[in-house]
Symmetry: C2
Subunit: 196 residues, 2 copies
Amino acid sequence: MARPKTHTAEVAERLMECALEAVARDGIGSLPLRSIAERAETSTTAVYALFGNKEGMQRAVLTRAFGEFADDQELIEVTDDPVTDIAGLGAHYVQWAIDHPRLYEAMYGEALAGLTPSEELSEARLRAVARISDAVQRALDSGAFRPADHATVVVSLWAQVHGLATLMMAGHLPDGADPALAAWATIEGWFADARR
Amino acid sequence: MARPKTHTAEVAERLMECALEAVARDGIGSLPLRSIAERAETSTTAVYALFGNKEGMQRAVLTRAFGEFADDQELIEVTDDPVTDIAGLGAHYVQWAIDHPRLYEAMYGEALAGLTPSEELSEARLRAVARISDAVQRALDSGAFRPADHATVVVSLWAQVHGLATLMMAGHLPDGADPALAAWATIEGWFADARR
DNA sequence: GTTGTTATATAACAACGTTATGGATGGAGC
DNA sequence: GCTCCATCCATAACGTTGTTATATAACAAC
């Protein structure tokens, strides 16, 4: 009894791809709806029909970005040495951020202060650090790490890689600094015995 | 032989105060020149005469913010125990970020990816971590920290506090996590002897 | 076909950063 | 003291942004 929809999920996917590309290139701040819609061969109305508004589209882009980031983390094989796993996950974490600076910037920079997160966005965020969280739990269970609160250890390691990634992207890394060694020190800080 | 200037340094200061206030409240992204100029009782032209353009004004705001941040770091008294100093500086670092979330966000978030830094901005940035850098040097000299590259240790500790601050601001801190303990682990990671 | 309802593209609107414009200003020259 | 006129700056205009209103288009029911 009405006109059939043409703003389908397929159009949403096209829009999403164009938007993700634009954000990865120019950052989350500059995302002109007109050019995005034009590139996706539709009109700006589609954005409002499918994502609500610009902020909704930004949220969707960030959710997608977190998903791809989590996929990358999950490429790391799980071994029976949680400490090695943590080191590998950390290195991968930083590398992804370096490879996708604008995306990572948007994920952990402006996103927090600016737009209010949706349910899916929060979930996607959790998945991004799930592997590290798991590895820390195994390190604690195996006795490789001294007894400590799981959340505290996770935050310590997460802050380390997140901070390293951000500083490196910003060009703040002083000459001669070794990020891998820097991260390793934080891991060692949790060792049960002083093995160095 | 010409009309005297009214776009004086005093006007620049008024503009700066209004802009800093606006950025601290709404973030670096939303800084409407018209309303800033109106609040400073001048016109938008003054912004272009005194700061070049909006980006110049943003740079100036960030430089000022870094200055205030560095002032705060320098409030911490220097003792003869560098490790205690580092812990205190780190706690102060995180606290300032929590107290000025939009400012810190602007300083280390968008600023890097977006606008190109000026000379003064780069200097102001360096001053912000000068105290931590000094304390690390003393910790290395005194033998409290095991022999390591100064820049690497600085980056490790800096990344830790920066990461903690960012994650806390973003509400990413898991329940039960103790940021002070988390930071302390990174410090311990550099201890010469396993004193815990 | 006509009508009713929904969907969409287009055009209009307000706000933004930036640039042009034209009036205002006050010492220099007489 | 009067006229320049180089200089400065508030105002208005321009292009682009996100968003909303409007009018057209497309189908189902009668």
